[in-house]
Symmetry: none
Subunit: 242 residues, 2 copies
């Protein structure tokens, strides 16, 4: 199992360097940058002995490319779900709860767990958070919610480093990949249309289902069974219709 | 009870500013500096909205002055007690263990818990560590032990903020209770019958669904929405049937 740190459109190269250092401090290496600024000597200097984490980082043009092959995609936010977009940011996990989640699937030791960190000023956009299986929020003070980017990464990777260091031997779980899950969500969407689900509730419900199924860490077999149930229900509707 | 962050002879004013921000992020305010450099606009800029933590910090000339009135003095080190000065750095506490320790004395709710962080390059000296009641060590990778100063503070205060918040905040997720979930499972079972799901597969599938939904830690609202979808599908089957 691999923990991938993904910075989405970071603005400061110092922050990128600081995050590289944190990644190495906690024994990780997988580092993706979505549309970063130019990375030069400043980033290298802050990265210090973690320069190779910086040098081997992957630069991509979209979140979709960054999360490829992930079994879990977690998005971080400083907003505690109390905004107008409550349904997008709730329910949220603390870094500790994220660790427990990842520990649960560690038995399989396969696949990538991707953690997205947003822009320094505006964080992740709502539509970016909607791509995530899990929303993670570091419990900070209401008087100053927003942490510096690299500090937020430090806290999350500190928690997850415990998973890396724990020598575990659990049952093998073969988790579904992003493409399998996406097919399931498309199927669910079609199904809601077929049963005449209320249009104005549909988006919210789909997001909720994505979160529920994301948190559940579905295996490939479970995805197939869920789609089998949907198919059976669709046939039933078709049967009695004809 | 009060958590006091003490930086011992920090060299970089940016780090001082970054630590001020972390202190405010986690809801603390008590900040001591032992022989710091001049603090100017750079520190203020990094502190951002935590400038008043910086402005109200106490500048002292010795560790003894900084830890006055403390009930516990904890010193941090990046060295995992494997050096020649083993007895000074052992046994060490993880930040989590420090939190548990502090929780243990929280009943009294009086006094100051002081956490010392050393110089960016050389950390705390042996004679400084010997002043401490507890040595705290963040479990980092052997390939890169030493964290950036403000990141180390972030990890320790993140753990200790739980002590502060424990009494003030409830559970973050309002989870569905057992009865709600049971009603959902009964509903799912009925639904499988209604769509004519294969009898010999039904028990296995129900167990799988129970596991999936169990792992997802459903909230009460999510249970209601899921049952709403089932109801809608049932009506659809009934509609087209009649």
């Amino acid at each position: 199992m691999e923990i991938r740190t993904i910075l989405v459109e970071p603005k400061s190269e110092e922050n990128i360097g600081a995050v590289a250092r944190v990644i190495k401090n906690f024994g990780f290496a997988d580092f993706y940058l979505v549309n970063p600024p130019d990375i030069g000597v400043k980033a290298m200097s802050v990265a210090s002995h973690a320069y190779e984490v910086l040098k081997t980082s992957e630069i991509v043009g979209s979140i979709e490319e960054a999360v490829e092959n992930s079994v879990i995609v977690a998005g971080t936010t400083a907003k505690h779900g109390i905004s107008a977009n409550k349904h997008i940011r709730m329910p949220f996990f603390s870094p500790r709860q994220l660790k427990e989640k990842v520990e649960g699937i560690d038995g399989g030791k396969s696949g990538v767990v991707s953690i997205l960190f947003g822009r320094e000023d505006t964080g992740l956009k709502n539509e970016e958070l909607m791509l995530c299986d899990i929303v993670v929020c570091i419990p900070t003070s209401h008087e100053y919610l927003v942490m510096n980017l690299s500090h937020a990464v430090a806290v999350v990777l500190y928690e997850l480093s415990e998973v890396r260091m724990a020598s575990t031997s659990g049952p093998m779980l073969k988790l579904a990949n992003v493409a399998d899950k996406e097919r399931l969500f498309v199927h669910v969407k079609t199904f809601l249309d077929e049963i005449g689900y209320r249009e104005q509730k549909k988006e919210k419900t789909l997001l909720m289902l994505r979160r529920i199924l994301g948190r559940a860490e579905l295996t490939g077999r479970e995805v197939r069974t869920l789609r089998g149930i949907l198919r059976k229900a669709e046939w039933r509707i078709g049967d009695v219709r004809s």
